[in-house]
Amino acid sequence: MTDLAALKYTAEHEWVLVEGDTATIGITAYAAGKLGDVVFVELPSVGDAITEGTVIGEIESTKSVGELFAPVNGTISETNDAVVDSPELVNSDPFGAGWMVKVTFTELPAMLSAAEYDALVGE
């Protein structure tokens, strides 16, 4: 069970789990709910250098297309093949099995706390 209070959040409705110099990134349950059933996920490749604020992936539902933004600067160290094969994991377990990528980051920008993110989405 993921401790949601321990995660950092972005205004783009992504969550970030920081462990050492690795950030695990996914989208929030709120974002998954807004998208509806996710049917396609496209992720960057391991080794890609990513820049904070740029688009690094796509998350498509039957109704719409969402973009995955890089919340940090760094290098992709791992991607979640399971979520590419089974995009429904984004809906069923957005904070767990539905994670997207892991990044070896150089520096962490300011992000939202769980309380701040809840306030942002009005929950």
């Binding site: 807004k34 509806g36 059933d37 396609f40 496209e42 498509e60 039957t62 109704k63 809906n91």
Partner: protein, 395 residues
């Protein structure tokens, strides 16, 4: 349509953030809502894919109370509708239902409508919620020279749709429903009046999903009870409440056009593949006749079905390109088909470009994806003897 207590004049002020008469039931069921033509309607309850599959394989229940119902009644009702609409409405029998178009004088499509002949001189015209006032206004204006009364019953009626292969079993199992004609004897695009716990109801074997199904019209005060009892009647069949997201993917698979996407005042019926809905042989003038007879220019864009491989769907607004990179069209609706598993789309494409060698391509956010033109619909349900299709309704 159930008889109105009295005609209610349309009130444009109320057409903003309106709630269905069943709104609280949707909230209680955990629905997410979307703004649709000024209404807050359920977009999904839990999963739009699950709701889609339920309608294809068993049964789903939709609240469509936002739809507009305009009543045309009087000795000249059939003649007035022959003049106002593209089809020959005077040909349909009592209880029959017909898909038709309301054309502009220039031949463009003001709306697509479903016409129910409920009584000898009484018709119900069901229009899209977004076009309620345009349709009510046009019908009233076009009927002015005829001995008829036109009134907008939209605020007085709730509309629920039971759709899917088990829909007949569910509606037959509905407590309190006494149809004049047994439901299993209704052909597709036929209807019957009846009573529901003693109150008037109209039931049509109609829908917008590509499946067998029924649409039930009652006065708004009976809507909640009808919803609850349909859910109860369908429990043994696994009925699920279904939202507008699944309705959209269902109708897209069935190749059914949606106003604002495939239909609009700048689109002629021939472009939309709806020439058969316009009856040029009927006697007398009708609005849009001259322009329809002239037809669209030879190079006008035409509606086509597109399929592609992979999982990335072209969506409304995405460009369609030739092999030599000319923009030859635009997608009007598109999705990864839940039933078929590959992307499908409807698009308006330059008709002359379709025969060019090299194929056509969809621009999916910067990536060109090869697409093939296929006949519509993308999906056709397995037919049974009770599911005769009304010509002109399904493509």
């Amino acid at each position: 349509m159930p008889d109105p207590q009295r005609p209610e004049p349309p009130d444009p002020r109320s057409d903003n953030q309106r709630l269905s008469p069943l709104h609280q039931l949707h909230v209680d069921a955990g629905a997410s809502f979307t703004d649709f033509a000024g209404w807050q309607m359920p977009v999904r309850y839990s999963s739009d894919l699950a709701e889609h599959h339920a309608v294809r394989t068993s049964v789903g229940l939709f609240d469509l109370s936002h739809m507009a119902e305009i009543i045309v009644t009087g000795p000249d009702a059939a003649r007035a509708l022959d003049y106002a609409l593209a089809g020959k409405i005077s040909d349909i029998a009592i209880s029959q239902v017909k898909y038709s178009l309301l054309l502009t004088p220039d031949g463009g499509i003001l709306d697509d409508v479903v016409v129910y002949r409920t009584h000898k001189n009484r018709y119900g015209v069901v229009a899209n919620a977004s076009n309620r006032f345009a349709v009510a206004g046009a019908l009233a204006a076009r009927a002015a020279e005829f001995d008829v009364t036109v009134f907008d019953e939209s605020d007085g009626l709730a509309l629920l749709a039971v759709q899917g292969p088990d829909s007949l079993a569910v509606v037959e199992n509905l407590e309190g429903l006494e149809p004049v004609k047994p439901l299993r004897e209704l052909g597709y695009y036929w209807s019957t009046m009846g009573t529901y716990h003693g109150n008037e109801i109209m039931v049509g074997r109609t829908g917008y999903t590509g499946e067998d199904g029924f649409e039930l019209y009652v006065r708004v005060e009976h809507g909640e009870r009808l919803w609850r009892e349909l859910m109860a009647a369908g429990a043994a069949y696994g009925i699920v409440p279904a939202g507008l997201a699944s309705r959209d993917t269902l109708r897209l698979e069935a190749g059914m056009p949606l106003y604002g996407h495939e239909l609009g005042t700048d689109i002629l019926p021939a472009q939309a593949g709806l020439s058969r809905v316009v009856n040029l042989k009927k006697d007398g003038d009708f609005v849009g006749r001259e322009a329809t007879e002239a037809g669209p220019p030879e190079d006008a864009r035409v509606l086509v079905g597109l399929v592609s491989e992979g999982k990335r769907a072209g969506r409304a607004g995405y460009g369609v390109y030739s092999a030599d990179d000319r923009e030859i069209g635009v997608i009007t609706s598109g999705a990864l088909s839940p039933t078929l598993g590959h992307p499908i789309a409807m698009a308006y494409v330059d008709s002359l470009a379709l025969s060019e060698p090299g194929g056509i391509f969809i621009d999916v956010r910067g990536t060109r994806v090869a697409a093939s033109v296929v006949p519509l619909p993308f999906y056709k349900r397995p037919t049974t003897r009770t599911q005769t299709t009304e010509k002109g309704t399904e493509q």
